[in-house]
Symmetry: C2
Subunit: 471 residues, 2 copies
């Protein structure tokens, strides 16, 4: 049955729209953290929505499950097939329309985030989602995973930046929710269902995205602070229409970056326990300088900050940003890392660190927490680096064996504080069983009912996010 399904796909699609060449396929079967390795009988590379629809209809007919893939930058194993058909959207890259009057852009799923930024900029508009992987990650991928990033604080998560989507459903029909209408009260918000669904309800083939005015100027500062509590107090003071980014890094994280990347240096003379990188979107450089100087002065008087540098030109602006962008890369120099992507209510961030830092020491004594990230959204990448030792490479596997124990301990605290065990990376394979164990049974039952309603044969990215979906 499978063989005839594969044959049917080959017969129905243009030659450019499929391959079984291992040289082409293999790179798509491993992801960059080297945590997941996959296999597939065939790679589909449709060039248009109707080809995706035709492929899905054939898969449905033959009971062939499908894993959709964008830029292969996902971090939870959701894009890696284990015997399923692999459907890459990478050939569907068209910008269908940029409409500066409606502040909207319609773009196909395989376009990279970088392409979207460029297309928006060419019309003097801004698409505010920014991720370090913007050169590789695709629209379909970031929408399907509801990727987060640094500007959620001001502009919302990815799903809030979308007017609607076009998606191929599990029976091969095409749902068209593309529209730039800001008001449309004609039924359920169906487009929204596909955002963050990790491909389990259908395959996003295109989307109409929200654009925003380009800010006249972005004022940036890096600020040394004494504690997490001081960083959160600063956040409350900084809040307002201009605040566009509020990222926090610990000393160990900044040092790993500035010690190991020659081009990046610590702009401060003294070491500080924590660092805040913050952006304000304003009309002009003068307005930005006035706003920042005022805020910093008053925070200094309140004893909330220890030192601060303001970006005075584009070079300094990029240099400060690069420190934050290299946080993940920098941690590789600290050895193995047990990574968490969690949210807690903003007013409980300090409490989270207090409890989690103590708790993980009881599991791996002398481990080194490197908790950084989007504190403005309550989102902490609470990564734990292995203890420093003489044989870092040798000790790495033993350290990483604690992954599940550390995760469970951290998740217990997150649940207790009313947080989320997945802030922006999603569930995928990595957290599927954890979600099943920890989530509200009513929520899980509702998810299963929705999944079953849209994909009763479970061919759309099975194994991901939900299991036993008929539950």
């Amino acid at each position: 049955m499978t063989a005839s399904g594969i044959d049917a796909l080959k017969a129905a699609l243009p030659a450019k729209a499929w391959t079984q060449d291992a040289d082409v396929i293999t790179p798509l079967l491993r992801e960059w953290r080297d945590k997941y390795f996959g296999q597939t009988p065939i790679l589909l590379t449709p060039g248009a929505t109707d080809e995706v629809a035709r492929a899905v209809a054939i898969c449905a007919e033959h009971g062939l499950p499908i894993v959709p893939q964008g830029g292969n930058t996902g971090l939870v194993g959701g894009q890696t097939p284990q015997g399923e058909v692999l459907l890459s959207l990478k050939r569907m890259t068209a910008i269908r329309e940029v409409n500066p009057v409606a502040n909207a852009m319609t773009v196909e799923a395989g376009a990279t985030l970088h392409t979207v930024h460029e297309a928006a900029r060419s019309e003097n508009r801004k698409f505010p989602l920014t991720l370090s992987s913007e050169g590789s990650c695709t629209v379909g991928g970031v929408l399907s995973t509801n990727a987060g990033g640094n500007h959620v604080l001001k502009y919302g998560t990815t799903k809030e930046l979308v007017f609607g989507v076009e998606a191929v459903l599990a029976d091969g029909s095409v749902f068209n929710g593309l529209s730039s209408l800001r008001k449309d009260n004609t039924g359920y918000d169906l487009s929204r269902l596909f955002l963050g669904a990790e491909g389990t309800l259908g395959i996003i083939t295109a989307a109409t995205l929200k654009l925003f005015p380009q800010p006249g100027h972005v004022a940036r500062a890096l600020i040394g602070v004494g504690s997490v509590a001081d960083a959160v107090a600063l956040l409350t003071r900084f809040r307002g229409p201009a605040l566009a980014m509020f990222e926090v890094m610990p000393r160990i994280g900044l040092k790993a970056v500035t010690d190991n990347f020659e081009a990046l240096r610590d702009p401060f003379t003294d070491a500080h326990p924590w660092y805040v990188l913050t952006d304000f979107e304003v009309d002009s450089a003068d307005q930005g300088a006035a706003l920042l100087t005022g805020l910093l002065q008053s925070a200094m008087e309140a004893d909330l900050i220890r030192d601060a540098v303001l970006a005075q030109n584009d070079t300094q602006f990029q240099a400060l940003g690069a420190i934050r962008e290299h946080m993940s890369a920098g941690q590789k120099f600290l050895g193995g890392s047990i990574k968490q992507d969690i949210t807690v209510p903003i007013d409980r961030i300090a409490e989270f660190f207090d409890r989690a830092d103590r708790r993980v020491q009881t599991i791996v004594p002398n481990c080194r927490p490197v908790g950084f990230g989007h504190f403005g959204d309550g989102n902490i990448h609470y990564n734990i680096a292995q203890p420093a030792s003489d044989d870092m490479a040798g000790d790495r596997p033993a350290f990483l064996a604690h992954w599940d124990a550390v995760s469970e301990a951290v998740f217990d605290i997150v649940d207790d504080l009313g947080g989320s065990i997945s802030a922006e990376h999603g569930i995928g394979i990595m957290k599927r069983d954890t979600l099943a164990r920890r989530a509200d049974p009513v929520k899980l039952a509702l998810m299963r009912r929705v999944k079953y309603a849209l994909d009763p044969a479970n061919i759309m990215n099975p194994r991901v996010m939900i299991q036993d979906f008929k539950g």
Copy 2:
């Protein structure tokens, strides 16, 4: 069976949570436009979520359908029972939490929008949904209908102002999506399903709403313009982070208000074909004056505006706003009115008026279009007043008999322009059959599958939005 179901409800609920007293019930069976009149065997007035859950479980057991009701301000008949159990949320009015650090408020479904505004203001925060009915309409109602209003332009529609909801499902279980987390990627966006679902998927009992900083100052102007095209050109010039409202009214609408409400007067010496009422949220009165003066001067030089008045104090601010707020009331003095609530893409608003104004004259010669509203969102309340005559009252029924023909003609143009036949009022009973005829079959099929997944026995607000939902 029905009788025993009603008896079971009476037995299971506290005495305060139900009544069959016609004096109490009757006012809830008619809505303010006098278009829908209903009937019900019993009114339920639960005081807490667990009472709602108990009531729904009993209704499910006995196959009793339920119509939920908030402030009874809906305009499409969605809140009026025709033999169903009527479940009013009006006794559930608690503000459960206001959290200014997380910029979030958790409130029960029966609280009025006015109560929410007051609670936000008390913490120096803003909940940006504003409707003329704010003293009566409730959180559950505005969320279930995704009500629009005047500030969508800046802050988004109601569903964009919600972190999550608590809802009682069709089997009586309680879904808890209350949370103020800005990032939570643990599955489908289930809360969103209930927003704009008009009670067909479950009953919203509480919600966590997004709060925003109170702007330092709101600068308001009323501007006379020569045409719809000039108004749209002005919108493009005004766009930016400060623009918070952009409402447009025709001469006939403004005149009906200022001629008939003694307290309200036309602030201009000359008559103008169209009027724009606009707000800018800024830090200070000085900043607002500078911004507005600059924008108006440059628009004047581009020949886009004919005259303008700036609100110089709170009295003038309120007076200008009151003209817009009285648009619907003013139209009552023009006789019968055939009302449309539609959206078209912003860059096609002028084309819409051009085509629609000509088209409706072929159906009712000398009818008087009064198209006004939220042009910043492409949302037009395209109301048609009856022709002026010697016997306005007598001619009214004959005029209103054209309602469906006028609607169909307008909807044809809307569909052709890629618009929406319901911008902010919803589908309810009024547009249910129109939606079934006009919407994309794939979309309708998807809506039916979702409805069936969540409410297979169709007891949650049946008759509304969807029909033949097993389709």
